[in-house]
């Protein structure tokens, strides 16, 4: 298929895909590699990396295995990244589609509503939301979704605005199709490429936001996460660098991988850029 071939032409995207697949595999296989809980004190505290072959990445001040923490943390990061993005895309597409298709008053109303969310700094709002509802994986996911849908809504609105005036949409009105049907079958399929690209990049942002929340101590107390690990390591920054560096590298690689994939999708799906790389 031509889409796959175009995507495969982009080496960056392939590298990103490989890294992401490794992260996914680690997340799925975490209980196999590390049967005991990542919260459990497994060995001597503050072991450096490779000091004990049982703990290749070392232990923290309570003797918890860093490698186990990373593996279980991948589950939280990916889960929150994907679910919150999915929720945000559903909200954003619905609001953007209604605003762009109907225009006028409805557009004004929905866009002012969107701007209301956009004017509040995303992280600050996420902190407030998580603090109001008790920190749990559900409240964190929803908080991230609530702060990240406005860009999707704006994007989809723009696409719908321009597609709505296209002749094939006019033709659909003339043959008697109803509004919702036109939105779903005529316009949305033509707007799907930029939505996919934006969504892929939003996953990366969501992972970062979750890490920030956990770093600030607003993570789910029952789930090990990369942000929490860095947060816990901050008092030991000079004594035990490995406690913060490894989760930091994990976040960096995952976010980078997803961004590379998003970039690759953009190039492959956007017909205007086709052939840009020869």
């Amino acid at each position: 298929m031509t889409f796959l071939r175009r995507f495969a032409h982009n080496y960056g995207a392939l590298v990103g895909l490989a890294i992401l697949l490794v992260v996914v595999a680690v997340a799925i296989l975490a209980p196999v590699f590390f049967p005991s809980s990542p919260w459990e004190s497994a060995g001597v505290p503050l072991l450096g990396p490779l000091e004990d072959p049982q703990f290749p990445l070392g232990t923290d001040m309570l003797g918890r295995d860093i490698a186990a923490g990373l593996a279980y943390g991948a589950r939280v990061s990916l889960l929150i990244g994907v679910v919150s993005t999915a929720v945000a895309v559903v909200i954003g597409v619905s609001i953007g589609a209604l605003a762009g298709f109907h225009g006028g008053r409805i557009d004004d109303l929905l866009m002012r509503f969107t701007e209301f969310f956009q004017t509040i700094p995303a992280l600050a709002m996420a902190i407030v939301l998580v603090a109001i509802f008790n920190p749990s994986i559900v409240s964190i996911t929803l908080a991230i979704a609530v702060v990240s849908w406005p860009p999707v809504a704006r994007l989809v609105r723009g696409e719908f605005l321009s597609l709505r005036s296209r002749e094939f949409v006019q033709a659909a009105i003339v043959v008697g199709q109803t509004g919702p049907r036109i939105m779903l079958t005529q316009i949305l399929p033509n707007a799907v490429s930029p939505i996919i690209v934006t969504a892929s990049l939003m996953v990366a942002t969501a992972i970062l936001t979750e890490s920030s929340l956990s770093f600030l101590g607003l993570g789910d107390r029952n789930m090990m996460s990369w942000g929490f690990m860095i947060g816990a390591a901050r008092t030991m920054l000079r004594e035990a660098w490995w406690m913060s560096v490894f989760p930091g590298v994990a976040i960096l690689l995952t976010v980078l991988a997803i961004n590379l994939i998003g970039e690759g999708l953009n190039d492959a799906l956007n017909p205007h850029l086709r052939g840009r790389r020869g």
Partner: protein, 548 residues
């Protein structure tokens, strides 16, 4: 007649000899232009005419050295005053461009820098060629603007391009081209984007300048009417090859090559109508006092800009009749079509369809009636959803109107045959078809609902003449077979004259004249209609006689 010995004594202004430009591999043909030879003398207008994809613009760009990087001439020479342009270095070519050879492009808006005053743009041409000092250039700019017939050069010089009309912009482009008194002008479809009356003025201007300065003009066009108006000699191109060239009179009135004859036969031309029983048909549509006003801008403290797009328009359409609505851009003809179909809201008046006024109906109440009034759109590329198969596009309407999918699909296959497409088209996507084929799909979609009224909004304007002729024929045949009423909206009087029973001429939102083609053409009453008819390109030339 163009042998080397005959020309030995004089060097033509431009001589293209055996020019070939290969296309990248994998396209439908090997050469964009193949073995092209032609000459242009000072003081003559050479028209290069052909349909889209014939390589005519490519030829013009090759002479200007404006070919895209992946296209390189593989053979031949382009001799300008005896020196090969293809062998020149970029620096030398740059001196010739603008100074000796100038070009006027098709789209005057995109060819001008939107952020620069028009006077500065003309002065810049002289500046980059190191001509004169600032004061001299300024004087020359004003003289040029005056020369190309622009009003009030002193203030217009400070205008930005968006303030000018299409015709004025094209005049500015011509002024830029003339700035350095070039010996040769290449004009690539310079009037295609313009209205007929503006086109006539620009053609006049080009001819006047060419005579006054003794320039050689290479004029690229697809319109044989324009050729008939200005050409001294003609080159006809088909798929990269020159199929015929010669004096304008010979080519236009005694075409030799089959392709030229086919093209000329397809030029829309007024036909003597056999009296059709159209006027006795049952009254289908009765429009009374229709009004539509556009308001834009306007906030709390500023007045909105108000444009009367349609002002108090009234007409009737009977079953089996074709009503042409003719007008230039901005005359409100497309808005009128959209009002009839309630694609835009109406500010006043009545649209009685089979006796019922549809204007006050809500969108939901009107939807069941939509099936009786269908539209064929202008742009065959934009009017089909690129993500849907032809089958899906054709069945969308019937399915939305409650016909079972299986029945709709059977009907769609019948329609494909009716509009002259293969049934295999059903499962294919729009991008696999040419413009003419897509327009057939558009017509099939409109017919899928068995409408009584068909509104065709510039439905053939984007098509090449030969395809245009086929689609017009198809529409006429379908009309006879299905007893359709057609409202045919067009800017092209020639097309309207060919297929319409009655013609309404629209000017600034009003119908200024309404009558059968004979009356509108032979005894136009309104001054605007008279101007419009006088501006039709190739009015004195009868293509039917040429190929009879």
């Amino acid at each position: 007649m163009q042998t080397a010995s005959a020309k030995a004594h004089h060097v033509p202004l431009l001589a293209v000899e055996g020019l070939s430009i290969p296309l990248p591999a994998g396209l439908d043909r090997r050469f964009a232009v193949e073995n092209l030879s032609c000459t242009l003398d000072a003081g003559e207008i050479l028209c290069v005419v052909g349909e889209s994809g014939s390589g005519k613009s490519m030829t013009a760009n090759a002479i200007m050295g404006l070919l895209p990087g992946y296209l390189k001439p593989s053979a031949g020479r382009i001799l300008f005053r005896g020196r090969d342009l293809l062998a020149m270095g970029e620096a030398e070519l740059q001196r010739e461009r603008g100074r000796s050879i100038a070009m006027v492009f098709q789209e005057p808006l995109s060819a001008l820098n939107p952020l620069m005053k028009v006077g500065d743009q003309i002065a810049e041409v002289m500046e980059v060629h190191g001509e004169g000092n600032a004061a001299e250039r300024e004087r020359r700019v004003l003289a040029l603007l005056d020369y190309v017939g622009l009003p009030d050069p002193a203030s217009l010089r400070h205008a930005y391009p968006f303030r000018l009309s299409g015709g004025q912009r094209q005049r500015v482009m011509i002024a830029m081209a003339l700035a350095l008194e070039p010996a040769m002008l290449i004009a690539d479809e310079p009037t295609t984007a313009l209205d007929v009356t503006t086109q006539a003025q620009i053609l006049d201007l080009i001819r006047r300048i060419q005579r006054a300065k003794g320039m050689g003009v290479m004029f690229v066009t697809h319109d044989f009417g324009v050729v008939a108006d200005i050409a001294d000699r003609v080159v006809v191109m088909e798929r990269g090859l020159v199929v015929e060239q010669g004096g304008a009179d010979d080519v236009l009135n005694r075409p030799q090559h089959a392709y030229t004859r086919r093209l000329i036969a397809a030029v829309p031309h007024r036909e003597t109508h056999e009296a059709r029983p159209g006027s006795e048909g049952e009254l289908l549509l009765d429009v009374r006092g229709l009004r539509k006003t556009y308001r834009s801008g306007g906030g709390l403290f500023s007045k909105p800009r108000v444009v009367d797009a349609v002002k108090d328009v009234s007409f009737t359409v009977r079953r089996g009749e074709t009503l042409g609505i003719v007008g230039e851009s901005g005359s409100g003809k497309s808005t009128l079509g959209r009002c009839l179909l309630k694609l835009t809201d109406v500010d006043g008046g009545e649209v009685r369809f089979r006796g019922q006024d549809v204007v006050p109906l809500s969108a939901g109440a009107f939807r069941p009636m939509r099936r009786h009034m269908q539209m064929v759109f202008q742009d065959p590329f934009a009017s089909l959803n690129p993500r849907q198969t032809i089958g899906r596009i054709l069945t969308a309407g019937p399915v939305a109107n409650g016909i079972p999918r299986a029945a709709a699909e059977a009907k769609a296959r019948e329609l494909l045959a009716l509009v002259g497409l293969d049934v295999s088209a059903f499962d294919r996507y729009p991008h696999e078809f040419s413009g003419g084929q897509r327009q057939r799909v558009g017509i099939a979609r409109a017919l899928a609902l068995e409408p009584e009224l068909l509104i065709a909004d510039e439905s053939v304007s984007a098509l090449d003449v030969s395809v245009q002729a086929q689609v017009l024929e198809l529409l006429q045949e379908l009309q006879r077979r299905l007893d359709l009423a057609i409202i045919f909206i067009t800017h092209d009087l020639r097309v309207a004259a060919q297929i319409c029973d009655r013609i309404a001429v629209m000017y600034r939102g009003e119908i200024v004249e309404l009558g059968p083609p004979e009356q509108v053409f032979d005894a136009p009453r309104h001054a605007y209609t008279q101007r419009l008819i006088a501006a039709i390109p190739g009015l004195h030339w009868d293509p039917r006689a040429a190929v009879a």
